[in-house]
Symmetry: C2
Subunit: 337 residues, 2 copies
DNA sequence: AATGCGTCTGTGAACGTTCACAGTGAATGT
DNA sequence: ACATTCACTGTGAACGTTCACAGACGCATT
């Protein structure tokens, strides 16, 4: 209707109370008479009044916004985490301002972080699964902002929530060993992602406990293409293996094709196992055995942790682990005798 | 260091100028002496001053924020659009506040929109590819906000940018007809997505021009699971077809498995074609023929359109089409004689 | 010597809200 | 009858910035 948005004062004038009373109604303060409340509510409705967030932030010195910094959301895991985090934040009454770093340079991160801090964000959610981004560096920029890191960095000084990737690696090792496999190859994720590093570490450590080791480890970049190329190289190198662990499902897709081209049957000749349980995993040929991560839980716990941090900024930074589960399908089988 | 963030006044006092001069430096106004500028810049650096966005919004009555409303970003297409849109917005100096609707009820949309409008967003980006969301309804809530709809709605009263889905459907029809296929089945997307509707429409129309029609059309929900089930039903129904068009690649993954289980060889017995060109498409078995959409272009044009709209709010709402391209791989072949 | 203009700087008010406080009645207790 | 409390309402200042204006100075033009 009108040119300008209605303000507290407009509403106040409209129903002859003070602006403060209107404010009280809006913020559900006690001590406003029922009759007045209704009159004000009606006026708000009629004038289409909406509080101005900028003014609220400024006056109250809190913004009701959380800053979300992401990297690599073209990948399934980070994207899932992001969606669920947004949901949890919204449920808690927070809006999200969202910056995506296109690359992992520390300078890009600084720039992204600066953008977020311009806003008086109440807290920071970091979905930046990279080891080369030192959280101390982040801290130096962001001061004592409440924040939560999604994905666990070992011994970090920041509260964090993530899937226990190390345990995931162990699950895979245990499972393949139980099937009788002794020669196991690995296509790991990029070294600078700590999810990848932890998976790799857990996997290797568990094999070591059984006095064995991966026959080969190649690092991919999460893409099907890299899985394909890694597998091709693996086969060309003459490495012998009866099982192959891919650190995510997309790389397993590529591996599947490479193995297929080389005439290896799955699971008869080679057992293949992925990680993530993307929705397509059950529909590959054969359906892919993989490790499922509960991203919804990560998102919820992440926000819960952050809100707690906002409420009481001191206290030991907690690290919350979500346990992964192995989903057995038909891409794995006992080793042929 | 200090408890409170530095303000304009702090900086001003620190180097004995007025706050207004500092403001001028920050905003790159002309008419500030080189010597002063440097002194101020130095002070800003030393005090770690950052402008308070809330105060800026409030005073200037513009926020430098764009509101982004998304639906269905668990799907490849919307997610890609979102990423590229964010990038383009950031490049243009805008921050993004981000709300995701978990479902397509109009009430969820209203709620989401309300959140965005609380902020004095300068413009609105709608990535809500649903036909049941009437843009007029959006307008009634958002008034004359500059906005851009990602994904073309036929005859919409709002500027929009999207891939020419209809043309995509035509490409598929042309291609399969040229290969000699006459009996073509279709697994379409959900009816209430306009991308799906347009693809379906273009596909059907082009077949009609060749005096034929799909032998069967089933609607899936974009997931591999639904592709699998649809294909299974198709086969069980006894429908005869030598080619199958899936409205996205994920459904094609499911179809692939269903056909495989039924002993149909691809492409020898049945040609399969998808849509989207997800990164895994080239690594399926066999590599999937599909239609590629340039999501980066969509994002960039979307932001460009919105910024133009913000600059001059009047003028005919433009609709920008991005043309899709067919990527031929090995899941399609000429019909067996 | 007076006028004008361009460059640079400062002042006051405004943006729309919250916070701290002060005030007003009416009901209650002594 | 008077103080005390409680429920409710209003006032002034502040948050950190931008905008519109005005002032001061130097230099060229008349």
């Amino acid at each position: 209707m009108s040119d300008r948005r209605a303000t507290l004062h407009d509403v106040a004038r409209y129903c002859s109370v003070s602006y403060q009373t209107v404010s009280r109604v809006v913020n559900h303060h006690p001590y406003v008479a029922e009759e007045t409340r209704e009159r004000v509510l009606k006026a708000i409705e009629e004038l289409g009044y909406r509080p101005n967030r900028a003014a609220q932030s400024l006056a109250a010195n809190r913004s009701h916004v959380l800053g979300m910094l992401t990297f690599g959301i073209e990948n399934y895991g980070p994207a899932q985490v992001m969606i669920h985090t947004e949901q949890a934040a919204r449920a808690a009454g927070y809006d999200l301002i969202f910056v995506h770093t296109p690359d992992s340079h520390i300078e890009s991160l600084r720039a992204a972080l600066k953008r977020l801090l311009h806003w008086q964000v109440d807290g920071l959610i970091l979905i930046t699964p990279l080891t080369n981004i030192s959280l101390d560096d982040v801290r130096s920029l962001s001061g004592d902002y409440p924040m939560v890191q999604i994905g666990i960095e070992r011994g970090a000084s920041v509260p964090s929530v993530g899937v226990n990737q190390q345990r995931g690696g162990e699950l895979v090792a245990d499972y393949l060993l139980a099937l009788g496999h002794e020669q196991i190859a690995e296509i790991a994720g990029p070294d600078d992602w700590f999810d990848a590093a932890e998976r790799h570490h857990g996997f290797g450590a568990q094999l070591a406990r059984a006095n064995t080791a991966p026959t080969a480890t190649i690092h991919g970049d999460w893409s099907a293409r890299s899985g394909y190329e890694a597998t091709t190289n693996l086969l060309a190198s003459g490495a012998r293996f009866s099982a192959l662990f891919c650190a995510n499902d997309q790389m397993a897709v590529g591996a599947l094709q490479a193995l297929n081209k080389a005439g290896r049957r799955i699971p008869e000749d080679i057992s293949l196992i992925g990680f993530d349980d993307i929705p397509e995993a059950a529909y590959l040929i054969p359906p892919l055995t993989t490790v499922r991560q509960d991203f919804a839980a990560v998102g919820q716990q992440g926000i819960a942790g952050l809100l707690q941090r906002i409420a009481e900024p001191d206290g030991e930074p907690q690290q919350i682990h979500i346990e992964p589960t192995l989903i057995e399908r038909q891409s794995t089988a006992p080793r042929k005798p």
